[in-house]
Amino acid sequence: MLSREEWLPLARKLDWNYSYVREDEVFPEVISGRPWLPHSEWKDWEESFKTSYREYVDNQYEKDMAVQAVRDAVGRIENVQKLALPWLNSLKIHAAALPLAEFTGVVGNLRGARFGRDSAWRTMATFGALDEYRHTQIPLLLFHPLLRLDSQFDWAHKFYHTNNWFAVAARHFIDEIILGQNAIEFHIATNFVFETGFTNLQFVGLASLARESSDHMFERMVTSIQTDEARHAQIGHPVLATVMKHDPKYAQYLVDKWFWRNWRLFSILTGLSIDYLTAPDQRPYSFKEFMEEWIIDQFLRTLDEFGLEKPWYWDLLLDELDIYHHMIYASAYSYRATLWFNFVIPGPAERKWLRHKYPKYWDDMDAVWEQISERWRTVGPGAENEFAVHGTAMPTFCDLCQLPLSAGTPRKNTARVLVHAGRKYIFCSEPCQWIFLHEPERYASHKDIVKRVLSGEAPAELPKLLTEYFNLTPETWGKDVHHGNYEWLGNRKDPAA
């Protein structure tokens, strides 16, 4: 019997020559990806973990038991009820966005497990698929039972099956990066950019916020998931290195494109949680500080290691760190009934903190919050007044990222109109337009929410749009967590009265 050290290299590196089919028939470019290269160019593909299936199962079992133990200890509804209301709504965002996105990761990795160009790559992608299945199950296990506490947790299962505008945006991203992608672009975009570049936001940043918020269940969940991510994210590096060697321009394009698309989504997922849905005294840092330390600096070092340039839009991205997620949060607050979680207005202490952390544009954002606050002062607090402090005109969306046209600053929105092949498109920013123009055949036929309304595909009337198209109900659509009942507004009602 072979020892582990003798057997593993044989099992991991098990490639052979084909006798009755051509290699490009076994690995067609359309699904394996480009550049199409013979296996001789991939045969040195290597990663550092080199785990065996038995070791994998043993490790995962231990990790699952640890999650289970924390769930048993602090995951009961009465534990969750003790969490601060804003943080609970951060959980609802992640409960919806995470589980089924992870499930698409199973599909993406299985594509790599079949169409990856070297056996060691395919072995690692098989483990990656098993990882992602686990990352689907854990949040569903932990979050969906919270439906008994709050019907908005129903969206843990429901989110990606709706035409809610944020689900449309998330699906547009996930479908492209994972579900409909060839193996090479999938592993560069998902493992290298998404997991190496961005998931620190979720798995380091949010884990520490969860700890500060005394949410030990969420902390354990994301920490457990991160240990898997750290391993299968390694697939992306040797794939990128080979593409870089043979087609550096294409490698640079993929990195530029996917860093921008990831930034758009994560700035909302994580930016709102850090800067608005965590109590100020539980925020160890701002979203911008975290991005600078854990994403920007590290990603630039990694790009340098591969001989890649900074994305061409880098200065724009750095500027957006100061403003984009603030624009989105204020917009989303004023259209909160279109989402499945609740919002809080930043009060004077929070706005002081935000001004300190984001001095560049905060004056303009402060004016927006003052205006919204004034509306609550005028109409008075109460659930019955929610729609008196809510937008009525239809907000607009980018034809690439599908997110609201909220880029730029309050002084100058950077949306831009483009006529392409006789049809009019609008983009939130120059990078979104740039991505569209590189692959118009991929994006041109997709309709954003506004185009769906104008074509009659979605109802124009807000109540019908919310209930019939966004799949929301009066119980589940987003509200102000206090219904405008803030002491600092000077019009607080006694909840007991």
Binding site: H326, M327, I328, A330, S331, S334, D364, M365, A367, V368, Q371, I372, R375, V389, H390, G391, T392, A393, M394, P395, T396, P404, L405, S406, P410, R411, K412, N413, A415, R416, V417, K424, I426, V450, V453, L454
Partner: protein
């Protein structure tokens, strides 16, 4: 037939879909956008409407100004 337009009010955080009537003046159109964004942006007296990088005569109608469906216009202060 209303003309759907992308309206951007200076001071606001999101662009809005504004359904313009071909016969309404640009002054009325600017006011319509200000009303639609009033939850987030306080009304200001003096504004100007910018379309294709030009400040427009507020007395023109939407049709006279040549607005087409899904064009962008901006309402700026000062």
């Amino acid at each position: 037939m209303p003309v759907p337009l992308y309206g951007f009010l200076q001071g606001d955080t999101v662009g809005l879909l504004i359904l313009a009537e071909e016969t309404e003046t640009l002054q009325a159109l600017a006011r319509k956008l200000q009303d639609a964004a009033s939850l987030r942006v306080a009304a200001r007296g003096a504004v100007r409407l910018v379309y294709k990088d030009k400040t427009m005569d507020e007395g023109l109608t939407v049709a006279q100004a040549g607005f087409e469906a899904l064009d962008r216009f901006d309402v700026l202060t000062g």
